[in-house]
Amino acid sequence: MNKKLIKQENTLRDIDLKKCPFCGYSYKEFKEYGFLGCPYCYKYFSPFIENYLLKIHGRLVHKGKYPSSFKKVKKNKKLMELEKKLESAIRNKDYRRIKEVKSKIRRLNETS
C-alpha cells in the first residue's frame, strides 16, 4: 500500500517534470501559471490538458475559421474521397452515380 502511494507520487512528479522538447516549458509551470510555452506544447501535453480544456470550454474540438493552408488540405482530402467514389462507380457502371459524383467534384473545384 505504502509502496503504491510512493509510486503514484513519483509518477505525478514525473508528469510535473515533463518538459516540452521544443521550448523547454514544464507541465509544472503550466499548472502554476495557466499558460503554455509554444504551439507544440499543445501536442506534447495534450493527454494532460484535454480535461482542463473540457472544463473551461465544455467542448474539445475546434469549430470555426481555418487558416487557408488547412482549407487546401481539407479540400484535397475531400477530392480524393470523391475520386475514389467515382472510380468505384465507374467500375460498377452506375451511370447515375457517376454523374452525381462528377458534379460534386466540379462544384468542389469551383469553390476556392
Binding site: Y33, C38, Y42, G58, R59, K63, S69
Partner: protein, 361 residues
C-alpha cells in the same frame, strides 16, 4: 513639460472615434471583437527571448505593411511611447494592460478606417481587434476577419485541426476570439437589479468586468460584458450568442429606466446629482463618470437635451491621459481635476442647467 512631440496623437484621437448616435448607443457605448494568433516556429511571447521577439516583431510588421500597402495605418513601437501616450491608448481600448507593461519589444498597428488595431507580442504574437460604436459586434468581427484572412496569406499561423488556433493561454484556444460590449446601465444599478441579473449572466458564461476589461474595477455605471468560451463554437455562434444576451441587458435597462421615469423622487435625485457640478470646481474621474451617467439618464428621460454621442465621447475625454493630451502637458492629479471640471462645465453646463431649471419648477 511638453509631451507628445514626436507623434501626432491628436490625429489618433480624431481617427479612432467609435462613439456615435447609432445602434442602441443610449446603452451600449461600443462593441469589440478580438482574436489571438501565433506564428508557427516561434514559442509564445512568455517563452520568447528578446532576440526572437525583435525578429518576430519585424517579420510581422513587414507582413502587415506589404499586405496593406494602400491602407491608412499608424505604427507605434511601445518602447518609443511615453507613459502618458501608452495610457492614452489604454484608455481608448486600443491596447491592453499587458501591452502597457514592460517586457518584450511590442508594437501596435492601427487601421483607423477599419477601426481595427493589431497588437504584436502581447500575450500572443498577434491580437487583432475591431471596435465599433453601439451594438455592432458582427461588423467588428467582419473587419477583423478580413484583416486576419489577408495576413494569413503572408504569415503561417499556429493551428491544430483538433484544437484550432493555438494560443498562449488555453482559455483562448480554438477561435481565439473574444467578443465584448461596453454597456452603460445606470438604471439597473439605481433600482438594484444588478445582482440578480449579473449572477444569471455569469451562470451562462458571460464575464462581467470593469471599464478597462480584465482585472479592472467598475467605474461609474459602465461595465464590460464578454464571452469566455473559444473552443467548439464558430465565430458567428459566439458573437450571436453574446448579441442576444446584450439585447436582454438592453431590455432590462430600458424597463428600469421606465420605472425611474414614473418616480418623481428618482427624477429629483437625478436633477440634484447633475446640479452638483455648479457648486464644484474640481472633480475626479470616478465622480465625473457618475455625473455623466446621471446626465445620460436625464437625457433619456427627456430632462435635458444633449446628444448621446457627446456624452459617450466625454466618458473618454475625462480620463487622465486624455486630459493631459488635450492640454499638451503633464499635469498633477489636482490640476487634472480642475481641468476635468472645466471641461464638463464648458461642454455641457449651459444647456443642461437651463433645462434642469425647467424640470425643477
Amino acid at each position: 513639460m511638453k509631451l507628445l512631440k514626436s507623434l501626432n496623437f491628436r490625429n489618433i484621437e480624431r481617427n479612432t472615434r467609435w462613439f456615435s448616435s447609432n445602434v442602441y448607443s443610449d446603452i451600449i457605448i461600443s462593441s469589440r471583437v478580438r482574436i489571438a494568433r501565433n506564428i508557427e516556429g516561434f514559442p509564445f511571447p512568455l517563452q520568447m527571448s528578446e532576440k526572437q521577439a525583435e525578429l518576430l516583431l519585424e517579420r510581422i510588421i513587414d507582413a502587415i505593411f506589404s499586405k496593406f500597402k494602400s491602407r491608412k495605418k499608424i505604427l507605434l513601437y511601445s518602447e518609443k511611447l511615453s507613459y502618458i501616450e501608452k495610457q492614452f491608448l489604454l484608455e481608448r481600448h486600443i491596447v491592453s494592460k499587458e501591452f502597457v507593461e514592460d517586457g518584450l519589444p511590442k508594437a501596435v498597428v492601427i487601421f483607423p478606417e477599419e477601426k481595427v488595431s493589431i497588437m504584436i507580442n502581447e500575450e500572443d504574437h498577434l491580437r487583432i481587434q475591431g471596435i465599433q460604436e453601439g451594438l455592432n459586434l458582427m461588423k467588428a468581427w467582419k473587419k477583423v476577419d478580413e484583416i486576419d484572412s489577408l495576413l494569413d496569406e503572408k504569415l503561417k499561423f499556429s493551428f491544430s485541426s483538433k484544437f484550432g488556433y493555438l494560443t498562449s493561454c488555453p482559455t483562448n484556444v480554438g477561435t481565439g476570439l473574444r467578443a465584448s460590449v461596453l454597456a452603460h446601465i445606470p438604471a439597473i444599478f439605481i433600482t438594484s437589479k444588478n445582482e440578480m441579473l449579473f449572477s444569471a449572466l455569469e451562470k451562462i458564461g458571460i464575464m462581467i468586468r470593469g471599464f478597462y476589461g480584465e482585472g479592472s474595477e467598475k467605474i461609474g455605471n459602465i461595465l464590460q460584458f464578454s464571452t469566455s468560451e473559444t473552443l467548439g463554437k464558430s465565430e458567428e455562434e459566439i458573437i450571436s450568442e453574446l448579441e442576444s444576451v446584450v439585447k436582454l441587458i438592453i431590455m432590462e435597462e430600458r424597463r428600469e429606466r421606465e420605472r425611474i421615469k414614473k418616480s418623481r423622487k428618482l427624477r429629483e435625485r437625478i436633477v440634484k446629482e447633475i446640479e452638483k457640478i455648479k457648486r464644484i470646481d474640481k472633480i475626479n474621474t470616478e465622480d465625473s463618470f457618475s455625473f455623466l451617467s446621471f446626465l445620460a439618464l436625464a437625457k433619456d428621460l427627456n430632462i435635458v437635451s444633449v446628444r448621446m454621442e457627446k456624452i459617450n465621447k466625454l466618458f473618454f475625454e475625462v480620463l487622465p491621459a486624455h486630459i493631459q493630451l488635450k492640454e499638451g502637458e503633464i499635469l498633477t492629479e489636482e490640476e487634472r481635476d480642475f481641468k476635468r471640471c472645466e471641461l464638463l462645465k464648458r461642454q455641457l453646463g449651459e444647456i443642461c442647467l437651463k433645462d434642469l431649471q425647467r424640470e425643477l419648477n
